[in-house]
Symmetry: C2
Subunit: 363 residues, 2 copies
């Protein structure tokens, strides 16, 4: 007879399920292009910080700076804002989690595009708020409709820019026009923004005039630091920032992440080089897939959403790639069933992928 355990969870947690991240194999013999990690190592300046800390381990025994300094001030310098406009977080996921807890509740509603980072929905549900899928503008190439977000009637809207899964980038001038007239709180998640070709691409550059915007960013993608859990949120609205300070754990970011994050941020030259390599490979891979009669969505991120030619099923290809130790991503949602999402790897990894796909498609 099975033991029956008491369910102490609150009413909401008894009903919801968590976000399911992409697979993380333990061994290193995979071509892992399923979770949009950067294929290049972090900046050499990150290594120097680790070496310094190894010489001075007593730094670890003390609590870190509660405001993520000196990383916070470094961010403020870079974007010509004030340190108090930033909160450093344990990955951008923590920033998103704080946002739902501080700005939503069971009486409020959030909206996000029908196709986007599904964590938004998971988080919104976890505080009992209502979640609206704002319809896409176009169901073939899955364009985001910022207007549908504005017209959704939600209190808070989430916009991933470039959009998660599709890679579409909404230019700043279009967003600004809409947001200037909006009464909603806009959360602009710029996880992939550093990979955009058109500059300036970050809303941070025009944040000053918009008190109804929170920009969320991460070091996981462009800075090659997913393992370090470094993110941040920025707003010029002091009431929003007060909310973050009230809601966050006192010491929410560790000292190694703070110091390596600062070092990486200040090595702009290396970052630029890495981003350029990813952009070049992205362009090449788009062409390669188009040559093979795949539908390829125009992407400004470090991944491509691709649809294999009619007869081949996306999920079958994923399984066959897995047999060859290549991990890509497939999403269960009906709108994405025909697609695969592949992260841009190194040139060698990308060539391996193409070779494997050619073999699968021809057999």
């Amino acid at each position: 007879m099975e033991k029956k355990y008491t369910d102490f969870r609150n009413n909401i947690y008894q009903k919801i399920s968590g976000y399911v991240p992409g697979e993380q194999p333990e061994s290193n013999d995979w071509i892992k292009i399923n979770t949009n990690e950067n294929p290049y190592p972090p900046s050499p300046s990150v290594v120097r910080v680790l070496q310094e800390l190894a010489k001075n381990p007593s730094l670890l025994r003390k609590y870190p700076n509660p405001n993520g300094e000196p990383l916070r001030s470094s961010l403020a310098n870079m974007y010509n804002l004030k340190p108090e406009n930033f909160i450093v977080t344990n990955g951008s996921d923590e920033a998103l989690s704080l946002i739902v807890r501080i700005f939503l509740d069971q009486t409020r509603t959030a909206a996000a595009p029908e196709i986007t980072y599904s964590l938004y929905q998971t988080l919104v549900m976890s505080v009992g708020a209502k979640y609206i899928h704002a319809p896409m503008k176009n169901y073939t190439i899955l364009n985001v409709s910022p207007e549908a977000l504005e017209e959704s009637g939600a209190d808070v809207v989430f916009l991933s820019n470039p959009n998660a899964q599709t890679g579409e980038f909404i230019p700043l001038n279009i967003l600004e026009k809409l947001i200037s007239k909006s009464k909603k709180l806009w959360v602009i998640d710029e996880a992939y923004n550093d990979f955009v070709d058109i500059k300036p691409s970050s809303f941070l550059h025009i944040l000053k005039e918009h008190e109804n915007v929170i920009v969320v960013r991460t070091f996981s993608k462009s800075h090659s630091m997913a393992g370090m859990r470094i993110g941040y949120a920025a707003s010029v609205n002091p009431v929003i920032m007060q909310g973050f300070l009230t809601g966050k754990d006192s010491y929410n970011e560790d000292v190694v992440s703070i110091l390596t994050g600062k070092a990486s941020l200040e090595d702009g030259e290396y970052l630029h080089k890495v981003i350029q390599s990813v952009q070049l490979e992205r362009t090449r891979m788009m062409t390669e897939f188009l040559d093979r009669n795949f539908l390829v969505l125009p992407s400004e991120a470090n991944f491509l959403l691709i649809q294999p030619p009619e007869s081949k099923k996306a999920h079958d290809i994923l399984l066959k790639l897995k047999e060859q130790k290549i991990l890509v991503r497939h999403f269960n949602s009906p709108l994405l069933a025909k697609y695969l999402r592949i992260s841009i790897g190194t040139k060698e990894e990308n060539n391996e992928l193409l070779k494997a796909i050619d073999f699968i498609v021809s057999s």
Copy 2:
């Protein structure tokens, strides 16, 4: 004319204020005995991990293990439990924050001793739950009453063991007797538990039989790793653990913290040495303060709660110590107004403190 900003915060966040941690001065010329940090550096094995990571920075570009492995399995081995009984968290504060979000809501009530870690109340209020101060057993030496917690009528009770601020340890057999008959969810916060003289001191050793208990622990105190933000929660109730998995961020602990935490955990010899040094200094400092006619609460933690002789005011002494670059802690709550809390420092730091206090008291 001052600009008026829109308040997007939910109704709860418009009313509450955050936890205020102890002061963290930037410079290193302070004797900092205000936040119960360990005065000794972390284990040499932690340094070796940092050196290894500096040689292999590509590890940082990938997401960390979502379950905090291999630290989680190492914890399971140590306490003869299963890996799935543990969740690794970004400091024990994250574990506590998850607990209020998963097991409380606006219809539920939490209780904690009147004198304890004030973060419990801050967190409970942040989800709109009711908070009950369970009265102390004795208002001179501020004894915790576990019976008052059980009789509080709360759904969830928080017990810091040893208790924060006072250092009192409730023996396991007393707790077990009460908890075996309890229908409540008990959260036993063992932040200071490694410093207890009587062994076994951790509820983890008897956790198997108690599905209504969550044990919360941290690497910030005994492991000298406050800067790394490593904590964990443990329960043998799979429904509780499911709640944690649903509520936590996918990658809530970074790879450097996971790997250095494991290294520290497995260096039991160094840990033992550090704990013994703190215990020895604790005994010496108790005697020193008693010799000076201070009231000293019996403490099993790495701090002492002391009350200066009648004529001297605690807060005045704090200010005068600060002039001499010695930071101690004072709490505003009426029951603690006459006390100072001092962390156990190195022998040299403790001697400096005694010298400074002798000077202040005699002048």
